[in-house]
Symmetry: C2
Subunit: 147 residues, 2 copies
DNA sequence: TATAATTTGTGCGTATGTATA
DNA sequence: TTATACATACGCACAAATTAT
């Protein structure tokens, strides 16, 4: 049983190996809670994998699995050689929906991820105009307004 | 160098350890190509991890990393003791955008994933009406029509 | 500029558990 | 029940990017 104290918030981080719940899910839930509670506000750099590994007393792979889950949710951002940060919600530009257009959502292809500089866990907005023109927008930077 | 032949298509699946490109990315690209080429149409069950491990001559973890990437893209669907299938694009219901509403996109929370029965790699449509009411839709089953 | 320390990425191995057929 | 297939969890070693010295 570990108690994780922030400057303002205290979150109980209990990892119970015998509970039947996979360890990496318990760790993911714990990290998610520490983010949601405000202990780690957007932009905060998380402790290193090595530190977290010791804090929760699990293998490094388990920590990485937990972090991978939160990356896929768009909660965390990882930079090689630097560390892991809580993702800051970007400003959403208003997007005026072209009349008669259809809007779909999906995850980007690897090419789109490079082109639009998308981090993990960020979907795309696909706007198809009546004339057949297709526009793809980063899902974390745009908000669509219905006229 | 391995040549992968389907009934109609032939895709060259070259995994080059010394190329500098991570193995799991090369495998992911190879699998993606076999899906895109039509060798594995939607609904097709992929060979087992053990089989793929031998075909590409890599560790099982490498195969799992590659498959995880394609799951995050919404291309593959995995069922625990059964196998891995190419995801079938669901029928998209037309959704009439409420006038004055705003639409945002993001990945679902774990709770939403359970509630909406979402598989990995499926984002959600968040529709906020002018009166403040918020609706969340599975991103793979809906298409928004702009009036 | 160069070196070292830190941190994440890659890749493999093993063992065991759980779901499905 | 048995066999197959994916899931979990640990360990190790080395590579690559970043930061600090």
């Amino acid at each position: 049983v570990a108690t994780c104290r922030g400057s303002l918030h205290t979150v109980r981080c209990v990892i119970e190996p015998a509970s039947g719940v996979p360890l990496h899910r318990q760790v993911a839930a714990a990290l998610r809670a520490r983010i949601a509670s405000g202990e780690w506000p957007p932009g905060t750099k998380l402790p290193s994998e090595t530190y977290l590994r010791q804090e929760y007393d699990v293998g490094r792979g388990t920590i990485r699995q937990a972090i991978a889950a939160l990356r896929a949710e768009g909660l965390l951002e990882v930079q090689h050689g630097f560390g892991t940060r809580v993702r800051t919600p970007g400003r959403r530009h208003e997007l005026e929906g072209p009349s008669g257009a259809t809007v779909e959502v999906r995850m980007p292809t690897p090419e789109e991820r490079v082109e639009l500089r998308l981090t993990e866990g960020v979907p795309v907005l696909v706007v198809t105009s009546p004339d057949g023109w297709v526009d793809v927008y980063p899902g974390d930077q745009y908000r669509l307004r219905i006229p």
